[in-house]
């Protein structure tokens, strides 16, 4: 039997690495619980208060996005885990063992991205569907429920899952570039959560020009039912977010190859 290092073998190795850490299992559990559980919870609360809502609020009630309301918390767990997939190797020195086993280095990064984004996609797809169907079942109380064939529904569900999976990829790239867990998570939070807030305090002409290009705004277009003013289309924004991610991965790959481990 051949004993060469192949991408398939490194991928198996990364699969083992991912599931053999307690921190991974906990983060994934948190992400799944948030994604599957918060939507139905929000649905129960909204239905309980339905009679207090005004006509305007009832008209703008968005059962599609409400059913997937857990994604913000799940995204945070996925992002943190995406960082730790590589930063945990730097902090413990494991990276040296990994790179000695795979001296070409890049297969380690590709395998990590493949395994983690694959796992994130499958788990988030399952939990998003659970959340969607459970929440819609609750929305039947006041007949505001939707189905997957309702306008935009399938695109929003799949788009939410794609956005979260790609966030994982972006975070693994950030972790590879920055190497420290704390630094990488700070960068992720600054990029996705702080930057939009900063943009909001700018004069509106400026913030309207900048906003659509923010990764958090561009990336979530595909997870929104309707396009917001001054933004890209759903898939246009997603394409831009993909572009940012590819750029981050390219920088990560360059640095991983060039830097001393």
């Amino acid at each position: 039997m051949s004993t060469e290092v192949t991408l398939a073998r490194v991928t198996r190795s990364e699969w083992t690495k991912l599931w053999s850490l307690r921190s991974t299992r906990w983060s994934l559990l948190v992400a799944c619980l948030a994604m599957a559980g918060l939507g139905p919870l929000i649905a129960v609360v909204s239905m309980a208060h339905w009679n207090q809502l005004g006509v305007g609020q009832r008209l703008t009630f968005n059962p599609l996005e409400r059913s997937l309301g857990g994604y913000r918390l799940a995204q945070l767990a996925i992002g943190v885990l995406g960082v730790m997939v590589i930063s945990g190797e730097y902090s413990t020195g494991m990276i040296r063992s990994s790179l000695m086993a795979v001296p070409k280095r890049l297969p380690v990064l590709w395998a990590k991205l493949l395994v983690f984004s694959g796992v994130a996609f499958v788990l988030m797809l399952i939990t998003s569907l659970i959340s969607f169907f459970a929440a819609q079942a609750i929305f039947t109380q006041h007949h505001v429920n939707q189905t997957l064939s309702s306008p935009h529904a399938l695109r929003v569900v799949v788009g939410t899952v794609l956005f979260m999976s790609l966030t994982g990829v972006l975070c693994t790239a950030l972790g590879t570039i920055i190497r420290s867990t704390a630094g990488s998570i700070s960068a992720y939070v600054a990029l996705m959560f702080v930057l939009p807030g900063l943009s909001d305090i700018l004069p509106s002409s400026l913030s309207n020009a900048i906003n659509p290009y923010l990764p958090s705004v561009a990336g979530t277009e595909v997870a929104s039912t309707y396009a917001q003013p001054y933004t890209f289309s759903a898939w246009g924004g997603f394409a831009l977010f993909c572009g940012y991610t590819v750029l981050a991965v390219a920088v990560a790959a360059y640095l991983l190859r060039r830097r001393d481990a």
Partner: protein, 301 residues
Amino acid sequence: MIEVSGISKRYGERLAVDDLSFTVRPGVITGFLGPNGAGKSTTMRLILGLDAPSSGSALINGKPYRELRSPLHEVGAMLEARAIHTGRSGYNHLLALAQTQGIPRKRVDEVIDMVGLQSVARKRVGGFSLGMGQRLGVAAALLGDPKTVILDEPANGLDPEGIRWIRNLLKGLAADGKTVFLSSHLMSEMEQTAEQLIVIGKGRLIADTSVAAFVAQASSGAPVRVRSPDGAALSAALIGAGARVRTEEDGAIGVQGLTIEQVGELAAAERLVLHELTPVQLSLEDAFMSITKDSVEYQQA
């Protein structure tokens, strides 16, 4: 076979490894000796492709490490710094490494048995003692049954029984025709384990020789111990012949600057009775001290 030629590594202003060249041959244990900060670990990292050299090259079985297609079968290495995720069990650590090149699970169990970690292999590495960590590192190095084994300070943290175990293990590997290269700051350990020796100081090569020749070289300027009932006369005669002498606590005289033959002949010519005439055997540690001290002084001059 490890061939290092003209390798240098600069970290900013500091030259950690300075134009180092040596060859490590199969079938013998080659020791890598030098004081802390001499550049031993850096040299090993350069050989293992973890750091890129500023100039020069290091080849393993004729190839740079980064070009090895099946590295764990060519080289097994254990670095001094920990290179294991503390949250993972020893078994899963080894399994993940094995899977990168299709090494079967059976072999993972084998190396765990070889290093005696059966009882703790399923526990998280974070709870391991230093000695257990070293054993796990050795297990990882042996995973691919490699032709070359590189170990950085393998005796660190091992108890005397563990040190004996690793010494026998390494001797067995060398006897199988493998290339064994290990660094240590325990010079007594080197003297008992290694046959060949590569000595560096301040990133430069100081000696590339056998352990026996290294001790002999360092002993050439070593003192001679001589004892006579008429010590005062003997001292005077020795000083007259140009030697430096020092009277020891037990009345013996330490002589430097004359060979043992010259001391004996001088005593005979002066008709002095001798009760003892012995060469002072330098340990590897003393040899190392005397040779590196010279190189340090030479550099400062």
